[in-house]
Structures are given as structure tokens and as C-alpha cells.
Symmetry: C2
Subunit: 551 residues, 2 copies
Amino acid sequence: MKISIAQLNYHVGNFARNAELICNAVKKARQEGSDLVVFSELSVTGYPPLDLLDHSDFVKKCAEAVENIAAECTGISAIVGVPVLNTNKEGKKLYNAALVLSEGKIVFTSKKALLPTYDIFDEYRYFEPEKSFHVFTLGSMKIGITICEDLWDEQPFENEFEKSRLYSVSPIEELVKLNTDFVINISASPFSYSRIETRNNIFIGKAKKYGRPVIDVNQTGANTELIFHGGSLVVNNAGEVVMQLPYFEECMVTFDTGMAFSKQLQALPPRPSDTELIYKALITGIRDYFGKMNFSKAVVGLSGGIDSAVVLSLAAKALGSENMKALLLPSRYSSDHSVTDAVRLAENLGVKYEIISIEKPFSAFEESLSPLFSGLPSDVTEENIQARVRAILLMAYSNKFGHILLNTSNKSEAAVGYGTLYGDMAGGLSVIGDVYKTDVYRLAEYINLEEEIIPRNIIDKAPSAELRPGQFDTDSLPEYGTLDKILHLYIEMQKPFSEIIRSGFDRTMVERVIRMINSNEYKRYQAPPILRISSKAFGAGRRMPLVAKYW
Amino acid sequence: MKISIAQLNYHVGNFARNAELICNAVKKARQEGSDLVVFSELSVTGYPPLDLLDHSDFVKKCAEAVENIAAECTGISAIVGVPVLNTNKEGKKLYNAALVLSEGKIVFTSKKALLPTYDIFDEYRYFEPEKSFHVFTLGSMKIGITICEDLWDEQPFENEFEKSRLYSVSPIEELVKLNTDFVINISASPFSYSRIETRNNIFIGKAKKYGRPVIDVNQTGANTELIFHGGSLVVNNAGEVVMQLPYFEECMVTFDTGMAFSKQLQALPPRPSDTELIYKALITGIRDYFGKMNFSKAVVGLSGGIDSAVVLSLAAKALGSENMKALLLPSRYSSDHSVTDAVRLAENLGVKYEIISIEKPFSAFEESLSPLFSGLPSDVTEENIQARVRAILLMAYSNKFGHILLNTSNKSEAAVGYGTLYGDMAGGLSVIGDVYKTDVYRLAEYINLEEEIIPRNIIDKAPSAELRPGQFDTDSLPEYGTLDKILHLYIEMQKPFSEIIRSGFDRTMVERVIRMINSNEYKRYQAPPILRISSKAFGAGRRMPLVAKYW
């Protein structure tokens, strides 16, 4: 039997585009003599459709798109992912389904049994879990069709408070009981640099445990925060990876199951470094945010620091230097090097820039507020005014010329609230809001691998917000090397205070850091969407109360 | 048997406060000769604890608090709501439980079976649904203990696309099979003005259908967006409401079940108007946001328009006029009446105010940007700059003096994107972000019921943002009377386009309005938390994708 894996980039709600992508791949697979072409989870709608699923119009369009795709499936079968109505009297109104289309019809339906409802996943909000299992027969083959989480009945966990068995059924076990020959898993697995192996090991483990080949079809591209890394896999019944599709690229591969399930078909690509994966993920995230929103141009405020340098470099790569604009917005506290370094960076990238001093609007605010503030010492208020004046200038540029403002806050800052709401926290998309400061440095080195794009001085100088004379980040924060480790333990690993201390950090420092994280939930509530590259990003995947006592 | 209903105001994560509230009520109930005092759902943690439930520290504190409360329960039993660990190998790590405490111990545990996972509810994110049912015996009485949604197995629905039976089990039916004498429902029902009757009818319907009295114990107060209206009920086995606790107030009542279940115990309070309920809800929401965050003072930007007038009036009532500050921030486009009306309002309320012209900072921006903008016509960019200059001034006041900025955007504006991100959309809390403009007028009339607080001219003048000469809201929006009806059909009722047209609205107008709603998801993503008073508020209860094609 010949099977094609179609690892494609879908756009939420864009039925015309998604159906066209799918139909083109069906045609190509047919030309390649394929019997079955497999698309990923919710390929018809894009993932995640969120509350669009509450609208009957939307669900109607799903059915129409499926009809169009089915009409294309002559002489070949296709598996697509799509929500279907639950026609039972009881339960949620939809199922998350995999449909087998053939000769213009839906010939088989498999519904998702395990519905992830944690982190960024809200599937039980929309879908009823399936409780019965069936195999699909194609020619002489019995195929078990599963959807993403269906193979995650044994969850890996990093934290002893988490449970491994979130569900009480194992879909693959049920399918093996029905003598399935192999298992297809269609998925929508959002990228997290720390979960690439974990994910592969799920498929390897299942194949080995049940002695059945597993074909995983993931998607690629990004929808707002979520970036899909692709990396679809074929694992044989000995648990050996015999094929792997590339990361962050659309790709279609056709193979013979007899061949594939017995031996490795191609040299497997080497596992890229975390930094390379993160770099590619962010490029994908920026590119698709703009492409799918029909935007082409972006503006970045360049401070001469490392964060904006990395964001500008990433965006120039993703969107083209000609579509970028950099604004340099120095103040009376800016050091000379902040402007010269920023200019050099823009020139290295071939990005046009403007320099606008914030002095005049800043003094105008000082003057307007002087009757109210007279006699009071300068404090964080004045620092925030500077950050906000910059945001007004950047947003004015954005409004006037249609450039989307890219936010340059990193995850370490966002965590401890080291940023100004409506100031440097502004923007349409946060590019590195899930990247810790120490990883921002790694990205900078990666960007500079072949030639020096980011001037060395930007990487080497001590981080400073330059909002008052002689200010450095370390005045009010621990060294980023230490800070980031504490943050990772608390945010990604969800370790309790006592365990973090036991990892060897100073009690007072840990207390202070956690207090800063908790007391800044209100700022993050109003932050832009953040490209997610870790297992726990700020945003929809981390829902903390604002009005709450934390300690 | 004597039962006490304790309708209290809990604070998320504030175990000391919640336990103290509960212990004091236990003491009082004991003094009143009560056999059983009932607290509401997740009373030990406050509702909703959200992802704090992922932290083992937090769950440990729940157990400690329960231990302390149990120690207080001598000579009386108490029902409290708290998360408990799921000790089974399979399933989510917690249950949403009701514990019966007596003589220092947990003597009975009832776990929630139906877990709402829609709108603002995410309970399956954290909890495993219970599948078995037991009754608790106290003296000669068999009591069925249910938790909120457990009685909502038949969901009311407003939209034919929604399903009535979201779940496949009816906990009350199971409990009646076990010969329960009456049913206690502990709840955390967030307020929605349109759901007060619906909610009461659930209890009335269940009591009547099964011939069993139902005691509902709701909570009151607010945690961030969610406001709890109280209104706890006792319904006899004929489905008659025999007792109802007040709305939006803490209250404890002790009654004899023999008496209560046979006849009406007290004259039932008249059903307040929607406007009165909304008014009280918002006051509660403001008061608790400040009280529970340890804030006391607020600042409002007064434009002379109705939105900021209503917000200032509500906040002055909730926090005290002496804790309020109004800033009047006129521009070159402000009409004379905008200042005089605002001054009169502040004086009526006894709120101190300052007048700061935005002219200087605004011209400074015009000047700074003139090299970039030279030759280009003035457009929405310059309007946004004005709104953002105001935000900087308000936030500067907030930063310098510790006043929290209250946001004054209404739901109609938020829906169609008629507002400036980082400008008038700024603030720590959105007071009327779930109130349509037409309801803002109703609130104004309600505020003026006894005396004219909001000057008549503020209510009567045509709405205008005053960001350019002669600008009125109706230049770019339909009349609010029409707009709000379309918005309600699309947002609360989730009606498809075709049905909205059939309700009698112009096709082009509906298309335009829906397009405006959809294309402004990105702005609402960065909006402050909004006090929720409807069945579908912007914020956590409505999760729409940003990067998506809607039509």
C-alpha cells in the first residue's frame, strides 16, 4: 500500500485556502500512485479554531469544505481532520474527528477519545470524547486512526504533582484488540523546544509496546501564538524511526508501507539544536502572523540593546529587510553607544531607520504634570513616561504607515514585571516573550554564526533600560543566569518554593523573584500575544487569577 | 433539623481570610442551634482559583485550611467546598469536592460530577468528574450533596445550536434513587443579569420534578471579572421558593427544615430591575477588586461624556468620593461643555479633580513626528495620539500617587473597536466593558434616581470622542439603539448572520458590524479585565482566534 503524508500549513477559518491546499495535495498524491493521503488534525479548519466552534455558520462551512474535498478524492482515499456534529442527544455538540474520504463520500469516521484540556488546550470546551473504537479497512489493511492526544494516554511528566494517566482509556490498546495492522495519528502538536524528544518517544514507545507501526502526521506553520513544527514521523513496529519530515516546512512524502515498515527509508535529519529550533519557530511565527493577517510591514523600536536587536534580525529574516522599519528613540539618558550600535545593526540588516529624540514630548509631559508633581522626587513614574512616549511614537508610525509594531519584551522581563504597560509592553505580537534573556543571547550568537549581523557591543554590554542615569538591570534583578533558572523552575516546572530552594538558590532571592512573578500578573494580562516556544508560555496556556493572595 | 446557609464573600488563595470567615460562621451557627452550616463551592480557596490548582503548595494549603475549619466544627457539622486530591491512578489530579466536617474530621466527601467547561468555566482543566453517588446521613435525614453544575444536567439554551444535555448523567436523579430526603447544592454562580431567573428555575424545576426540597448556597463578592450575586435559595418539594437570601450581600440564615420545606418562611424580596442588579454588581466588582488587592484609591479620566461619568459615579459609591481623583484632559477639540459638565459631575460627587490640557504634549508629538509625517493628511493617527497622551497623564498620576486607573470603555465600543489601544483602552479594571451603551444610559438614569448626580447635559448630548472638530459617534457607527441589538444577537446569542438579518436589520449594516467585531479581536486581546454582568462578556469567557479568517 502506498501512503502519502501531507504536512501542511493551515489557516484558522480559511476554508477556501485549507481546502485548496488539501485538494492540491490529493491530486499530487494520486499522481504519485498513492492509495491514501493523510492530513493533520483539524486540517479543514486550522488549529485552534477556539470559540468559532460555537458558531453554527462555522460548523456548516466545515461540512461544505469536506464535501468539496471528498469530490476530489477519486481513485484515492484521504484522511482529513474536521469537527463533526454530535448527533446524540447527550454530550457536547461536536466531535474532533478524522474522516476518511473516498469517491466523493465520507467512508469512515474516527473521533478523538482523549481531549487535552490543560495548558493551551481547551478541547473539552468544544468536543465530546469518543468512547467506542473501530478500525478502518483499506484493501487488506486494517488501519487504526487516532487523533493527536489519543496516543498520549501515558503522559510524560516533569513534576511529581502531575499525573501520568489523565484518561481511563487507551485508544491504541483498543485498536490493537481489533487487530489493527498499523496506526495513523493525525496531530496538531504546537512546538515546544523541550518536548520534541518527548513527542517522538510517545510514538516510538507505542509502536514498540504494541508491535504496530505508527504514522504521525503533524502540521506546520503558525496561528497567532501557536507554532507547529511539523517533524511528522513513521515508526516501524520495532519502534525505529524510519522516516521523519522536516521541521517548520510544508512537505509531502509518498512511501510504500511494506518498505517503510521494515526498514529505514532515508537518512534521518540530525536533531537541530534548541537554539536553531527556537530560531526557526520564531521566524515561522512572525511570517505566518503577518502572512495570514494580510500584513506585510513591521516597525521595531531599536534601543541598542540585545532584545530589540534580536527581534529586528528575526523579523527582517521573516518579512524581508525592505518591509521593516526601525525607529531609534533616544532620550537624555541614552548612552552614545545605544544609537551607534542600533544604527550599525540596522545598516547590517539593510533596514531603514529614523532617529527621533523623545526629549520634546517627554519634557512636555514633565511640564504638564509639574503643577501636580511639584516637590516630589523623580521615580518610576518618569521612567514609565519615557517608555510610553516611545510607544506613542511607534504606534503613530504604525497607524500612519500600516506597519505592525513588534514587541521586544523577553520572558525574563515579562515574568518579573520589568517593563512598562502601554510602553515597551506594547505591540501587535510579542516575538521573544517566551524566550528567557539567556536564550535571547543564544539567539543573538546563532544569528551571528556566519557573519556579524548584531554588533558585538550589543551582545557584550551590560543590559540597561536607560531610563535614568547609570541604570543597569542588575540594580533591581539578580543576574539573568540565576534569574532564568529560578523562573524556569517556577514557571515551566511548576516546582514549589521549598523545592526551588533545595535546588541551591538563596531563599530571600527566590522569595523575591516569585513575589515579583505573582504581583505582575496584571501586567501580563494586557500583554500582546506571545509566540510560544516553551512548554509553558505566558498567555492562554497559563491562567492565573489577578485578584488573589498568592503567598 | 436546623440548617444554616452561609452566603459569604471569599478571596481566591486567601486561606487565612476564607477560613476565618468560615470559622466565624460556624461559631455563629452553633450559637443559633444549627445542626449543619453550609458554605458554597470552593469556599476554602475562593472561586476561580484557576492555574493556582496546578501548584502542589496551593493544594497542600487547602488541606491545612480544611483541618483548621474541621477543628472548629464541634457540636455542629459544616459543608465546605474545596479541591481534594484524586488518589486513583487515573484521571485529573483533583476533584472539586464538598466535604462534610464534624468533630474535627472529614466525615463525608461528595465530588462534583458535572464539570462546566464553557464560557468562563474551565473545570475539566483541573478536575476529574465523579461517577458514583452517595447520600450523607445526618440524624434521620438523608442528604444529597451536589455542587453547582451538578443540577444543570438539563441546560437551558438560547440558541438552537447549543445542546441541552451536555452530560450523560443526572446527579440528582442518582441521589433520588438513593432515597435522598433533600438536596443541598453548593455553588459559585457568577452573575449575569439575564440568567437570574434561569438559575432559580433550575432549582425550582428540579425540586418539582423529583419532589425533593433543594437548598442552594451561592457566594457573593467578586474575584477580578467574576461577580457572585448571592441570592441563595430554599425551594420546597412542591417547587415553591420559601426563602431567598439577598443579592450581592453576605448573609447567614438559620432555619428549621421542617418549617422551611413546608411553607414560605419570609416575604420574598421583589426581583430588582436588571439595571439595579447591574448597578449593584458593578459596585461589588469595583469594591472587591480594590479591597482584595489592597488598593484603596482610583483615578478616572473625565471627558464630559456619559461613560466616564457613570464609571466615576459607580467608583465613588464603591470606594468613597474621598478615594477618587478625576483628571479632566481637554484638547484643542474639546467643547466647552465637556469641561463644565465634567466639573459639575465631580462637584456633585464631591470628588477632587485636576484639569490638565493635553495641548503641549500633543503638539510636541506633532512636532517630533513632522519630519516623518510631512505632507500627509491628519487621520486616525492624530486621534490616537490624543487618546494616548491622556493615558500617559492618567498612568503618570496612577504611578506617582498609587491610584488605580479605571477604564471607561463600554461594551459597544469594545465590540466594534471604537477605542485606542494604550489610550482610552488603558486601565487596571474595565468597569463597564460588559455594559452596552444603551445600558450605560440606563445606569445613568438609575444613578440619578433620587437626585441629579450626573448632569442632565451629559446624558442628553450626542456621544462624541471629540478627537477632531465636529466628530460624533454616529459618523462611523449606527445609532446605539440599533448597534446594541445587533451586537447582542451576535455576541450573547451567537446567532448566525442570516438569522440576524431575518430579525429585521439591514444586511450591509449587519455585515459591517460583524466585520468590525471580528477585525478588532486584537484590540480586545490587550484590554484590561472586564467586570462581567452578561452571559457573554469579552475576556476569558470568549476566546476567539486573532490570526483567522472570519468570513
